[in-house]
């Protein structure tokens, strides 16, 4: 099936500084892709190129087959910037109305109410942006990105200003979007969040993709731990297939075996391993 977002050999240079050095990335239909990497790795630049805010120095980015930045591409996406603001004098309802008009959404008041409920702001319809907390503004930003039900969502650090309850709301929202078949590129520093909700993870460092795969693929086998009467015994090179043999050998040697654990590295371990910080 054709990719909703496809980046091919994307490079971006700012003078002598290379922000992206040939990145390939795909987001399939209904796929939730997490973009990870340290500060300055080029993640936000990639997201900005995808939504047409920044032009690549070379390479190609397409949204549903349309070049990134074209009117066709812009019609197909919703975007939440890492740093954004809405005019303080506008109410949440006015912000969404403005974006409905710009996105030619016919959703009307019902869509606005639904979006505010979806992001956990059901009572903020007539609240002015100026009197909202940062977290509320970020939720409103999410609602704004969802106006018109775009097939692709580009979310740049959508939970940076949210408290744990707000993060849970966003996780629920992302799962709901997956159910609806919306494709999402999620740029986040929160590894646990990405690990929990994303189908596919791309780790970027120094403008290059240094690891990619499903969270399960990225997590590596870290050996076997066996709890015996004599303490915890570790077999770092062993895998699942080795467990019966290890247990048999320990029992034959007179050890009492109480528990066996397969050790897998977390996404954080993988991240720290591949990222040069």
């Amino acid at each position: 099936m054709a990719a909703v977002l496809a980046a091919r050999a994307v490079e971006k240079r700012y003078g002598r500084v290379t922000a992206l050095a040939g990145v390939d990335l795909e987001v399939g239909p209904g796929q939730l892709v997490g973009l990870l990497g340290p500060n300055g790795a080029g993640k936000s630049t990639l997201v900005k190129i995808a939504c047409g805010l920044v032009r690549p120095s070379s390479g190609r980015v397409e949204v549903l087959g349309a070049p990134a930045g074209s009117a066709g591409a812009r019609r197909s996406l919703g975007y939440l910037a890492e740093l954004f603001r809405f005019p303080g004098w506008m109410t949440a309802d006015e912000v969404l109305t403005l974006h409905q008009r710009l996105a030619a959404s016919a959703g009307g008041g019902a869509e606005r109410i639904e979006l505010l409920e979806l992001v956990g702001l059901p009572d903020a319809r007539h609240t002015r942006v100026a009197s909202m907390s940062k977290g509320m503004q970020q939720r409103l930003g999410l609602a704004q990105a969802l106006v018109g039900s775009p097939p692709l969502l580009l979310l740049d650090e959508p939970t940076s200003a949210l408290d744990p309850a707000g993060r849970r709301v966003v996780r629920g929202l992302l799962e709901e979007l997956r159910r609806r078949g919306t494709s999402v590129l999620l740029n986040s520093h929160l590894l646990s969040e990405v690990e929990l909700v994303c189908d596919h993870v791309v780790i970027v460092d120094h403008g290059r993709v240094v690891a990619a795969g499903t969270p399960a693929e990225l997590r590596r086998q870290g050996g076997v731990e066996v709890e015996t009467g004599g303490g915890v015994r570790q077999f770092p090179d062993a895998g699942r297939a080795d467990v019966p043999r290890i247990v048999r050998e320990l029992v034959d040697a007179g050890e009492d075996v109480y528990a066996v654990r397969l050790v897998t590295s977390s996404l954080e371990d993988v991240y720290l391993e591949v990222v040069d910080e």
Binding site: K48, L53, R55, A71, R75, Y79, F84, F86, R101
Partner: protein, 282 residues
């Protein structure tokens, strides 16, 4: 596009600066009414046998209204600069621009709509204050200019040119730098007009030539001086000569080509701004 024009209009009218301009305008019009009334009264009492060929009401009316024209141009220019100085870089740095630019409307329409909103507010403001000042002048001395509509339109046109320069500047410069730059360009235009005025008074061809070149570089000044010219376009004799010597650049006939150039200048400034904005990373 209408959505962004309305958004720009609402944003312009909501700024505290707009309220400050309204208060200053009310103060200006109050003082203007007081001063104009005194000017008409005093010039009538001055008139002696040597000034019999002068129409004192025309001299007083055209002089004070010429001063009002300068004040309106100044307030309108300040308003248009402050409404547009942050349209691109300022709004991008504040994070206000990105959510709008990624929408299907596109950058060109967005920029044109923001310009239309701000220039519209500034032009309507200029026309409103122009007509109020005109009414005050007529009330105080019974004088009205030889042309009523065209000077106001030219004054509004001058402010629109200033707004276009500030919008174009906002693509390249941060808000403070752009505001300073736009007001300096505006000041340079006025200074060139003043030089031309001095050149006219001392009959210096060189200074008048510099002023004529400045008209092409800063067509808002040409529009302003042509607007002044139209105030007394049918006035003849010594009064007409006196009235060409304005305080901040006198009245001069700009001519059709220069007025056409002012329109073309708007287009060129617009094209430069649009192409630079299209290529800009946000």
């Amino acid at each position: 596009m209408t959505t962004i024009v309305l958004y720009g209009l609402r944003e312009s009218l909501r700024r505290k600066m707009f309220a400050v301009v309204l208060v200053l305008t009310a103060a200006f019009l109050g003082l203007y009414a007081w001063g104009t009334h005194a000017a008409f009264r005093d010039t009538r009492s001055f008139l002696g046998p040597a000034q019999q060929r002068l129409d004192p009401d025309a001299v007083a009316g055209a002089t004070v209204f010429g001063l009002a024209m300068f004040a309106i141009l100044f307030l309108g220019a300040v308003l248009s600069v402050f409404l547009t100085l942050n349209v691109v870089r300022g709004d991008a740095e504040a994070g206000l621009l990105q959510p709008l630019v990624v929408r299907p409307i596109g950058r060109a329409q967005l920029l044109l709509a923001r310009f239309a909103g701000a220039a519209g507010v500034a032009a309507i403001y200029v026309l409103a204050v122009y007509w109020l000042a005109l009414g005050i002048t007529y009330w105080a001395g019974g004088w009205s200019p030889d042309r009523l509509v065209s000077p106001g339109l030219e004054l509004a046109g001058a402010v629109v040119v200033v707004a276009a320069l500030a919008v174009a500047g906002s693509v390249f410069l941060a808000p403070i730098a752009n505001g300073i730059g736009a007001l300096m360009v505006f000041g340079a235009g006025l200074m060139a007009g003043l030089l031309g005025e001095i050149g006219h008074a001392i009959d210096s061809q060189k200074l008048q030539h510099i002023a004529r070149i400045a008209w092409w570089v800063f067509p808002f000044d040409a529009l302003y001086e042509d607007a002044l010219h139209r105030l007394t376009i049918d006035t003849t004799g010594f009064a007409a000569f006196v009235l060409t010597l304005g305080p901040f650049g006198g009245s001069h006939h700009a001519g059709g080509p220069l007025l056409l150039w002012a329109a073309a200048y708007l287009g060129i400034v617009g094209l430069v701004a649009l192409s630079a904005f299209a290529a800009r990373d946000l």
